[in-house]
């Protein structure tokens, strides 16, 4: 590889022009070292000097494009150039003549179109979601008539993946939240001498509200995103089409097991997380307020009516159902490119957490007179 050079012969006689001789390899690799210097030396001198390209040993299209743009897309008035190099520069010049189509600029009409299509996409989502729900109901009806076709293996695999494997992380988060809640409440309660109410606060708060919501957020992030990504990649790699081609229902095989499994596993996860959170709260209360653990356990059923546990359970089941449905809905919408996969996975997690919190609000209103001791 010979390094590229620019040699300048100054004008010997006043009134005549100087000569610029380009030498060496004018290739991308050779030019890369001192590109900005070359660019400066070439620029703005097209017709001021005579050019000689006879010394160039190699020229690639990058070098040719560099010269052509430095010459402002016209041949210099005086140039000596071998035929083969002229052909290379001519090719670059020809493609500079026929520029690429440009992406049109974003204007007001586009803004209206974006707004409209966003609104329409809400309609699309609603229709698709309803269709998925309807299909699942039909599948359930079919499976009730043909009990042999229940996808039991898939259901149990999903219970294991989304439920059992989530237990450690759910326990860790639950325990820490329990400790924190208990610690913060204890500080306040002690100021009023109402230490004993820590059992009420923790019992009601965790069993009824915090447990289910906490687990939902965890599961939406953990299993919901995994479900969307799995279905999405299966769409990208045409695995879902392969299933359909074999005459196997994709909803029975892929969606229904996930939905059923999460609906079954979530209440159990809620139970588990709430218990661990209560354990954390109990420990913290014991250390902070010197409230005996045995007393805590004895007092809990007296101040927290059983209805709360049922509500917690019901919430868990409904949240699980919704997370799985939303995850599968977005997973089936993925189109075969990476961008769509990432945006649908994000949308899946964000929507399922939002949906869970909305439903939680509905639950709070619907059950406002149940299970709260007055």
């Amino acid at each position: 590889m010979r390094s590229p050079e620019i040699a300048t012969d100054a004008a010997t006689v006043p009134g005549t022009r100087g000569l610029v001789r380009l030498q060496g390899d004018w290739t991308l690799r050779a030019l890369a070292q001192r590109l900005s210097t070359f660019r400066q030396q070439l620029a703005g001198r097209r017709d001021d000097v005579a050019w000689s390209l006879n010394g160039i040993s190699r020229l690639d299209s990058f070098g040719a494009a560099l010269m052509w743009h430095a010459w402002d897309k016209r041949w210099p008035e005086r140039i000596e150039i071998p035929e083969n190099l002229r052909a290379i520069i001519d090719r670059v010049a020809a493609s500079a003549e026929s520029p690429l189509p440009r992406v049109p600029r974003f204007n007001l009409v586009d803004a209206v179109i974006v707004l409209g299509s966003t609104l329409l996409s809400f309609r699309d989502h609603a229709l698709d979601f309803t269709r998925l729900l309807g299909q699942l109901c039909l599948d359930l009806a079919y499976l009730l008539r043909h009990p042999a076709e229940w996808p039991l293996r898939e259901i149990s695999a999903n219970v294991y993946k989304a439920g059992f494997k989530a237990m450690p992380v759910a326990a860790l988060v639950g325990f820490l939240i329990g400790v924190v809640m208990s610690y913060l409440s204890a500080l306040q309660l002690r100021a009023f001498g109402a230490d004993i109410f820590i059992v009420n606060i923790l019992g009601l708060g965790i069993i009824r509200e915090l447990g289910p919501v906490l687990v939902s957020v965890l599961v939406a992030g953990r299993s919901g995103s995994a479900m969307t990504a799995q279905l999405g990649v299966m769409r990208v790699t045409e695995e879902i089409d392969a299933l359909s081609a074999m005459g196997i229902s994709r909803t029975i095989r892929l969606v229904l097991p996930k939905v059923i499994a999460l609906t079954l596993a979530m209440p159990l996860l809620v139970l588990w997380t709430s218990s661990v959170a209560l354990l954390g709260g109990m420990l913290s209360a014991w250390l902070q307020l010197d409230l005996g653990m045995a007393f805590f356990v004895e007092r809990l059923p007296q101040v927290v009516p059983l209805a709360n546990l049922v509500i917690g359970f019901a919430k868990g089941a409904v949240f699980g159902l919704m997370i799985a449905l939303v995850a599968c809905h977005f997973g089936l919408r993925v189109s075969p490119n990476t961008e769509s996969l990432s945006s649908n996975t994000t949308a899946s997690v964000v929507s399922s957490i939002t949906v869970v919190i909305l439903i939680d609000a509905l639950f709070a209103i619907a059950t406002r007179s149940i299970g709260v001791p007055r």
Binding site: L35, D60, H69, R91, A94, L100, P101
Partner: protein
Amino acid sequence: MNAKPVIELRGIVTRFGATLVHDGLDLTVQRGEVVALVGGSGSGKTTLLRHIIGLTRPAAGEVSVFGAPLFSGSVREQRMRRRRFGVLFQHGALFSAMNVAENIGFPLRELRLATDAEIANLVALKLSLVELEPATALLMPAELSGGMVKRVALARALALEPELLLLDEPTAGLDPDRSMAFVELVLSLQRQLGLTVVLVTHDVDTLAALATKIAILSDRCIVSCASLEETMELDHPFVDGFFRKPFGLRAGVRSGGAR
């Protein structure tokens, strides 16, 4: 330029778990050659190509590219060495989030050397080089047909003015017409730009049209690396199965004799 071989493989050993894929394999590719790697399914052709690219490393042996070991020198030198070859992956491996023009211009833009106007100019040039309409520039990879994906991928592989082009199954998934057109395209580019080409293929037509040398990968070694004529003379079970039978059949079909 120097007379060092462009690619030099010495004593390559590759293992996947308990299976030995390559066992003391040697291969040398000189400048300007078009070498076709052929071999049965699972004989490790693509793996060998991945060794040359540096995506995988052999268990033993040395891969030298442009006269120096692939992983020698500073990070900068290794990177510079890698920019001297262009790779066409089997399925194109276009970035699906970018349109065609962005895909082709991407390596240039990453180098941060060329100006926007130069990049647009070079992209237009590469597009015309692979015989695609300028209007394709705004399409997304998902909207392209199989043949177009290969052409765009080739244009992207050529973006950094490579001296060495590695093609993995360049004609797989194309119909015979398109595959012939693609082969002619690669051939004309090879002549125009003076490229060294290494390709992996299963297609006898592709290899007959393109390759100056055929490297046969069999029994974990390169059993022969010679021109098509010399290869046809070779007495080896793989040559019998790969060249004679299909050729015989095809010739028969062409003359209308075989049923």
